[in-house]
C-alpha cells in the first residue's frame, strides 16, 4: 500500500483570491512577517498497486485527469510506502 500526498495550487499567473484574503487576515492579526500566501488543495490518497512506480504513474494520471484542471492548476506529490493497510 502506498500513500500519495498531493499538493495542488493555482498556476503562477492565476489569481488566488483565497490566498489574498487569508494574507490580509493574517496581517490584520498582526502577523506582519507574512509576505505571501497561496491557498491550495491537499489530498492524501491510499493506493494498492504492485509497486511504487505503478503508484506514481497512477497518481500522475488521475491527478491530471481529475484532481486538477490543467488549464489553471498544477500539482506536486510525495509517495511513500505504508507498512500495512491501516484502517
Amino acid at each position: 500500500m502506498y500513500l500519495a500526498k498531493i499538493y495542488v495550487t493555482y498556476k503562477k499567473s492565476i489569481l488566488d483570491p483565497q490566498g489574498e484574503v487569508v494574507k490580509s487576515a493574517l496581517h490584520r492579526l498582526n502577523y506582519t512577517n507574512v509576505q505571501a500566501v497561496t491557498c491550495g488543495k491537499y489530498f492524501e490518497i491510499k493506493l494498492d498497486t504492485a509497486d511504487k512506480a505503478a503508484a506514481a504513474k497512477e497518481v500522475e494520471t488521475f491527478s491530471d485527469e481529475l484532481l486538477i484542471n490543467i488549464n489553471m492548476e498544477s500539482f506536486t506529490y510525495d509517495l511513500s510506502e505504508l507498512a500495512e493497510a491501516v484502517d
Partner: protein, 224 residues
Amino acid sequence: MRAAVINFPGSNCVLDMYYALKDFRLDAEIVDANQENLDGFSAIFLPGGFSYGDYLRTGAIARFAPAMKGVAKAAKDGRLVVGICNGFQILTEAGLLPGALRENAKPGFICDEITLNVANPDSIFSSAYDKLQITLPIAHGAGNYYADAQTLASLKAHQQIIFTYEDNPNGSLDDIAGIVNQAGNVFGMMPHPERAVDPLLGNTDGRAFFQSILQRKDLLTHAD
C-alpha cells in the same frame, strides 16, 4: 429596544434581516463590522452571507472583525445575540456557541424549504411557536453541524437544541439546525426565519421566531 444588524464585508442577508426587524417595528440599525462598541444595542443580529468570501472556512475570518468584540461583550452581558446561517457559522468559530459547521455531507450549496421541528419550544427564540413543525428556507453550503460527544451530551442536558431538521439536508449531527448557549441568550441557526415573514413570498413561519424574541420584553429593555 435597539437592534443591530452587523454588516461584515461579504454579508448578503443584511437587508433581509433589517427589513424583517423593521416589519416587527424594531428600532433596527445596520452596523459596520468595523465598529467595536455595540453597547447601545440590546439585540445583535449576525446575518447570512459569505463574510470575507467565506474563504478559508465559513466565518473563520469574520470572527476577528472588530464588531465581534462588541458581540462577545453583549453575549457576556446577557444581551441577545442571534446568528443566522453565516452568522451561526461566525458564532461557532468565535466560540460563542459550541461545535462547528462543516460543509454539507453531500457537498454543494442547497437552497430549499425544509421542515423543522421546534425541539425546545420554551426558549427565548421559539416560545411564540404554537406548532411543533414549521417550514423555513435554507440556503447554505456548510450547514453540517458537528460537536464532539461531550458537547452534544451537554447540549442535550441543557435543552440547548432549539430546532432540528425533520429530513436532515446536510448531515448535521443529531439533525441539529439551531442551538442556544447555556445561558440562553446567544442563538444560532442555519435556516432563515427572516426570509419567511411576508405572506407575499408564500411562507410566514419565520414570524413566530421574531415574535418569540419580542415576547421577552424583560431582556429587550437594556438600551431603551
